[in-house]
Symmetry: C2
Subunit: 383 residues, 2 copies
């Protein structure tokens, strides 16, 4: 079986991977080519799902020769990551063999660390949830207690996952450093400032750990789940944030600071926001919600979304979060109205930016967190 672990140890033995220091860009060698093409094929296998995909189709889609695809898939089958799954009907010649991903060849744990609860899932290579845990949590109870609870919950799921476990992804609210896995000011919980969550958890569990913002995790999950192109995931809950996917990969910025959508000023010298500034979208939007004026809240949110759409020229806006879920129709229509109006003003050029409710329920963030470990296998850049 071997599964995904063998692949990883193979890649890890590359003496040159991540050896470079300083500002230099990475030169490519044959190992890079190999892992790039392998990831491409794996991604197509994953996308094909239970339907499967033939070797020649893989060749067409990747631009590689059929022979190269044969070699790559042979390796994947040997490693247990891919398998033959029947044959397709003939189109005038030999019937094509259908290949599919073996989902059980690898697993990852995704944890959504929220202010008042902990939600963890174990997912397979297909991204399907295999097991789930949930626990109440008090982020203010201190690092030791929280990390303990986190490790315990994740540990239970790891035990279920067998030996092909890629690691644990943790999605947390508030500013943090994705590259180093360190939390910054979690709003309202100053004691977390600077806490090295990734290393603490990795040492405790003995598996790789990746930390990211909740909105980024959600956006990654959506991107891997099939949302193509560039899009913004806007999350309206107790706060307002965004996850940006630009060209199939999550845009975090050099300091994991990107996506600070809520404190975009759309009302110069407007009402004060808890952040200290005035006229932030978050303040205006939530105030409208409090006044029981969801249509106005949607209009405000739409204005922010339109600004973002203009700046980045994205393909889609996805809405999610508890507050959205309370009145989904109103928000989708309200935001769409602002974007449609903007497209109308732009004339022929302005294809309107579609607005949709985020598919999936309240496990979105936890599933996305698991993708922090899975996505790199499929060539989805992670930093």
């Amino acid at each position: 079986m071997g599964g995904v672990n063998r692949t990883r140890s193979g890649a890890g033995s590359d003496p040159r991977s991540r050896t470079r220091g300083g500002p230099g860009q990475a030169g490519a060698n044959l190992l890079v080519v190999r892992s790039h093409n392998t990831a491409l094929v794996l991604d197509l296998l994953r996308t094909a799902g239970s339907e499967g995909i033939s070797r020649l189709e893989l060749a067409e889609r990747t631009g590689l020769t059929p022979q190269a695809v044969s070699k790559i898939t042979a390796r994947l089958r040997e490693e247990g990551l891919a398998a033959e799954a029947g044959r397709r009907a003939s189109t005038g010649g030999k019937r094509a063999t259908v290949l599919r991903l073996v989902p059980e060849a690898g697993h990852a744990v995704g944890v959504h660390l929220d202010r008042d609860e902990l939600r963890a899932v174990l997912v397979d290579l297909d991204g399907r949830v295999v097991a789930e845990r949930r626990a109440e949590l008090d982020l203010g109870a201190g690092a030791t207690a929280v990390v303990g609870a986190l490790a315990e919950t994740a540990g239970e799921l790891i035990a279920d996952g067998g030996d092909a476990l890629l690691g644990v992804g943790v999605a947390a609210p508030g500013p943090l450093d994705h590259d180093h896995g360190v939390l910054h000011r979690v709003t309202g919980f100053p004691e977390w400032d600077g806490f090295p969550l990734r290393d603490a958890l990795a040492e405790r569990l003995g598996v790789p750990v990746v930390v990211d913002k909740d909105t980024n995790a959600a956006a990654l999950g959506l991107a891997v789940g099939g949302e193509g192109g560039s899009f913004a995931y806007l999350h309206l809950g107790t706060g307002l944030g965004a996850g940006l996917v630009i060209g199939d990969s999550v845009h975090r910025g050099p300091r994991t600071g990107a996506g600070e959508f809520g404190h975009q000023v759309i009302q110069l010298d407007g009402p004060p926001c808890h952040c200290g500034n005035r006229g932030c979208v978050e303040a205006l939007c939530l105030a409208a919600v409090d006044r029981a004026e969801p249509a106005e809240a949607a209009r405000v949110l739409g204005a922010g979304a339109a600004n973002l759409a203009g700046l980045l020229d994205i393909d889609q806006v996805l809405l999610g979060g508890r507050t959205i879920a309370a009145a989904p129709e109103i928000f989708v229509r309200g935001v769409a109205a602002v974007l449609d109006e903007r497209a109308r003003r732009e004339g022929a050029l302005g294809t309107t930016v579609p607005v949709r409710l985020v598919p999936g329920g309240d496990r979105t963030v936890a599933e996305g967190a698991a993708q922090l470990l899975l996505a790199p296998l499929f060539g989805r850049a992670n930093g």
Copy 2:
């Protein structure tokens, strides 16, 4: 000599380059590796400038082995793109041979097509301006007349450039389609809507032509010119626009629509803008300029810049354009003040985003337009 043309014909003979259709991503083969590494080395040679750089230094910076660098540079020297340029002092052993780019091995023409004038430059591989033309122009005079003037001016410079000419880059105002080189509504000149500028000019001149927005060209020029990381170039002239560089490459978005900074709403239901909306940064900012309140204009611009910095987590804001040039100090200080204030609110995390005046004079856009052809040689993505 050969120069850059031989390299291009070599790459063009790749039967698989750009053959793929549909949504598939590109598989990598050895030709891709070769051109990637070659571009990496060329970029380092270019960055090193007249100082030059040794083979071992190239190896360190690229992560390639010294032997690979030797092979690559040998090829470049054979093609006339690189040359030895003396020796460095010893550090305890054999003295290192210094290599440098041969700037004359390739040229490109950059044209800044503005509303009332035409500005064209011929630059070498180093990006240095070798020749320059300038002409008055009336964008409203119709496509035939304008393309004629454009072709004539560019043609004169092409004649100066010898045989190693990569092509012509054209930077134009207003919305356009970079991928297809088609103009959209140039504000105030509806007759240009849908005009295939790239193909018209390419046929006329018989050389490759690339078209882009003026702000994108300027941003590309700045990125190639040495501005590292991610930054936003804000251009305040008769209008207000932005060019975004994210991770060393220009972000245009799928429809070349990114960077629409001016019509970002920062004053909900504010004063009407000529675009049909209300409270756009451009309207507020230019109104303040008209009222002779540059400090207020800078504050408004700063608010927009802060929104952008928060959304994208960029490293730097660069200011340019005629209106900025009229009161540079006030604008730089005013915008910086807003960003500093924002960083202060963010606390320890908030490294402030530096604001600078764009270096170089009013040739910035034309030089950037030339980089539309040069940058791909150095591995700077162009799409």
